[in-house]
């Protein structure tokens, strides 16, 4: 998920197999919340737009149902409130291929979160989500040994900037 100061929010969704090979990719057009939405959702607007709107649209659009959705944005976790996917946020410093003053990660209000540490990775999920450490471990154990979970985020970011070159110019 990214938010651009002028063009609004947009997100990308890459489904990969256990070898990190791409299976499906979707991204949204940039959207801006209406004035009414901004007033009503107040500080939770990012959670609404990123989780309930963008993430839900991406998850709904994809043909493949992934075992786990890993996001780089806390605000996208709200997708688990409006869909059945297991969503966790990778709690790590990600290689941001391109950011600027105008292009950044959306913010999130402080949800009640639960934290997990599986393998060498730290994850957080919404407190009321159905993610468990056991389930998370089962899924991640299927990944190839050289699958670096932080890596595909760079691909998604690059793809987003490729699809929305105006954001790259920011």
């Amino acid at each position: 998920m990214r938010v651009h100061a002028e063009h609004g929010y947009f997100g990308g969704y890459l489904i990969v197999n256990q070898l990190a090979r791409p299976l499906e990719f979707h991204c949204t057009m940039p959207i801006k919340p209406s004035r009414a939405q901004s007033l009503l959702y107040g500080p939770t607007i990012d959670d609404f737009v990123c989780g309930e709107q963008i993430a839900k649209a991406l998850v709904t659009k994809a043909k493949i149902s992934p075992d786990l959705v890993i996001t780089d944005s806390l605000s996208a976790l709200a997708v688990s409130l409006v869909s059945d996917v297991l969503a966790v946020k990778l709690d790590a410093e990600l290689p941001q291929s391109e950011t600027s003053e105008k292009l950044c990660l959306p913010k999130s209000t402080n949800h009640e979160l639960q934290r997990f540490r599986v393998s060498k990775y730290d994850f957080v999920a919404l407190a009321n989500s159905s993610v468990t450490e056991t389930r998370l471990t089962q899924i991640l154990d299927q990944l190839s040994a050289n699958f670096e979970i932080t890596e595909p985020f760079q691909r998604v970011t690059e793809a987003l900037l490729e699809a929305h070159p105006i954001a790259r110019a920011a």
Partner: protein, 624 residues
Amino acid sequence: MKPFTRIGDHGLNEQHAQGWAGIEFADYPRLAIHSDRLPGAVGPGTTALPVEFYATGWQGMLDRSFVVDVATQAPESLDVQVIPIRLQSKLPKTIGFTFPEASDFLPPATKLETTADKSQNRMDNVITNDDADQESKNKSKRKWTRIKPPGDLVKLEDRLYFVLQPPLESLLSSAKLEFPFEPFPYQFEGIAFLFPRELAILADEMGLGKTMQAITTVRMLLLAGQLRNVLMVCPKPLVTNWVREFKTWAPEIPVTVIEGDSVKRNWIWGQHTAPVRIANYELLMRDRAILDDPDIHFDLVILDEAQRIKNRNSTTAQIVRALPRSRSWALTGTPIENSVEDLINIFEFLQPGYLRDDMTLKAIGQATRDYILRRTKDKVLTEMPPKMFRDEELDLTPSQYDSYRSAEDDGVVQLAGMGEMLTIQHVFELVLRLKQICNFDPSTGSSCKLERLEADMEEIAASGHKAIVFSQWVETLDRIAQPLQRFGPMEYHGRVPSKKRDGVIKQFKEDPSKHLILMSYGAGSVGLNLQFCQYVFLFDRWWNPAVEDQAVNRAHRIGAAGPVTVTRMMAANTIEQRIHNVLEEKRALFNQLFADVDAPRNAGLSQQEIFGLFNLTTPRKKAA
């Protein structure tokens, strides 16, 4: 509305009470009330208000204490209006696509919907099912090399296809492609550069492994099913080198060398299923008629030492440009040997007409940026052993000096007397004659260079090292070999049959008694790996520093055993020194002007400069 409090004086009429409460003192100038409390805070029966009286003598009631009543009034109720706000309920629009591999993960009903676009087979077969658990999960973090879409790829879907691929390291490791040794990061970048491109020039400096990068990319593309038949064109002496490199870097790929009599060659050209075929430039000229066959088509044609087609009108360039193909790659360490025109002519093979002669250097630089990858050792191999140059200015032996002076003086007089008949060939002849004298005196055979070489070889051999000696003349190499027999000189030049050359290199490498190999620039300056040599002698100088660089880089390349010492021999105060000075001046000038462009720094001598070596002016051409 806020409730208000009324304060009144019990016994006073309403007007008085209002006067107190409203504090309209103008009506009662003799009564002053000071309060630091809010009126509402005053309760009934309290006299908290300090009151000061001024006796007037007539109102006894003023002695009575106040009674304060407090009353609260409710505000009037308002009608609340409800305005409905319609919140956006539609989800954002998305764009996306499904990769071919997704079909394994889709439910049966949706499998049919997966479009079989042109990228279907691109990478499918590169990866087999993973059993890469052999690798430790604790593998340390490293820099990933990404495949970036080329600039001329327009369709977003095609661009995203490359952008969304895993890093090259990940692809290679899970595809179980083994390498004799781990490629350098810049080599991964070279592979990532070549992989998505249909038109490319890999112009790395000599010794950085262009061969390995090209072979590995071909290997990946063959495995991915993007290529089926590749034609590799290289100079004849390098054919065996390419075969050897393919065996090293892609042992599973069958390689066919196009050779033999015309019947055999005809048959090999017709083998459209052969994945990799290697031909040499000279052979293409002989088989020109065969290549006109409309059934012949190559998915990829790679030109090694692509500077061979720098002359646009040469037969070789014309034949190469006519090869029917889908992808065109050129490999060269010197994309510009003499002028920018060299590069323009290489581009005629890639994309005819893309570069024009009238384009400025800056425009050419911008137009070619996405097609050329050029790295130098200084930039990418910071840990490589240094290369040290020694310019040995040697005084001619007395007999050499006499011969030289006589030849030059007579020659210049002769040239000057030719007037308009003078051509560059005449000047060349004199230069070559003088350079030969600088090597060996024709009458006595004495040589200041040989004396120095002999002395240096004593030390090199004693320390167990090996050296390469380059000359432009085979006769010179023969004359060097005789007095240096004790160092076990090997010979590698045009007179050594191609079939024996590999054996020469092998023996030189493995036999500890062989400390010296004598090479001609023509045969030994390209494609050979002699990184076990730490000493290079340029017995005489080539016209073009780029060729000298090629020669030196036989030793100074990846895997070099240690620092490489290059001795450039020059006879002092002779034509050799003058040529050297001109070339150095040009190099310095170009370095200053084109530091970023890396273009004509390797330029050789122009016709005018060659005439200038003897203070001759270029003869004017007669008007037609």
